[in-house]
Assembly symmetry: C2
Homo-oligomer: 203 residues x 2
Amino acid sequence: MSRQRIVEAAVELAEGRGLERFTMRDLAAELGVGTMSIYHHLPDKRALHQAMADHIWSQLVLPAPDAPWDRRLAHLTTQLWEAARRHPALVPLLLTRRFTGPEALPAVEALLAAAADAGFDPPETATCFRILVGFAVGLAQAEVARTVAEREHGPARLGGGDDGGDAFPRLRAALAGPPVSPEAEFEFGLEVVLSGLRRRTGT
Amino acid sequence: MSRQRIVEAAVELAEGRGLERFTMRDLAAELGVGTMSIYHHLPDKRALHQAMADHIWSQLVLPAPDAPWDRRLAHLTTQLWEAARRHPALVPLLLTRRFTGPEALPAVEALLAAAADAGFDPPETATCFRILVGFAVGLAQAEVARTVAEREHGPARLGGGDDGGDAFPRLRAALAGPPVSPEAEFEFGLEVVLSGLRRRTGT
DNA sequence: GATGCTATCGTACATGGTACGATCGAAGCA
DNA sequence: TGCTTCGATCGTACCATGTACGATAGCATC
């Protein structure tokens, strides 16, 4: 038993059955130990959630430090998006918890460094960080939510067709088209955000 | 008793004590009814959460339809960000639930319409939507998380100074500066995203 | 062998979602 | 007016879950 082993098993288990159905008892059973043994390594469930979020951040592969700043930003944002998609059940944790563990810090630092090297001052750098993280994780979450909703309720549709008129034509159009490839959507969005950042730096 | 009244009281109560401490029993007590009465109007707690998220979307003030598309996008994104900040405890719901209720649809439609009027095709329009929503709500969530973390653990700081060296200089710089005004940060980020979108449309 | 420490775990409690069936008041009808 | 019906309300109870508490067991040190 070690904190490391607990966190890894927790990620796997939560991934399998969803965050809501993830219980301490089941985790302990999966580890083959008593429920209370977990509490010797982690103070409570919140701390475990935090550790799980940190664990995902720690999976990011860092870019070469001498690459151009926008390549590094693109690389890290993509890594984050892919990591989030690998762990759909845990995306809410990525959105909600701060990354405070030592495991998460290198990736955070690399992202901040890339933004800083673009010429932004520290406050702007922090903003870039949040924009990119929000974009990557938010997009992943939107995809997860759609997948879950479609599994539970069937394809999305507009509720009332009771009035003959089309009250929400844009929404209908968005729902009607063929589903966009998540990869294409991500790349489009990433390019939009990066080009906005480039314009800001004058590059 | 009506669904409307329940949802409004739920929003207020959750706002007061946080989503985690929000219970059906307390909500019923707040309403002056028995716990089980709530279940005559809503099937379960998940549905209530969904309704709460929709309720927030319904608060958005729609822009004038004849304004330029980027003004409309800016207006709606700002509205969403402000609504999220008014309800910090509920931001996780905004990030997690889809907006499926009739209350939420007008704002969704207006956002999609503004993006479509920029010249994007339906798939790109949907992507714009998710980028902007992720940005606005993600930024609000980051602010909330920071506030909560500082209330509970004191100001953010780097844990180990045990090695003399500075392992994470960028992170240190980001934490060191004076706290940025949330409004300024939002406007900076919004301008970045919008300028990225304008470049895409050739405008 | 005694002692103290560390990791494990069995038991028990409090909390919270919600199923079930009883109740109750009003509206319609003879 | 008395009876019926139906929708809304609610009391009770059940079950799941997080976790406090204290017991235990293995092990190292003296």
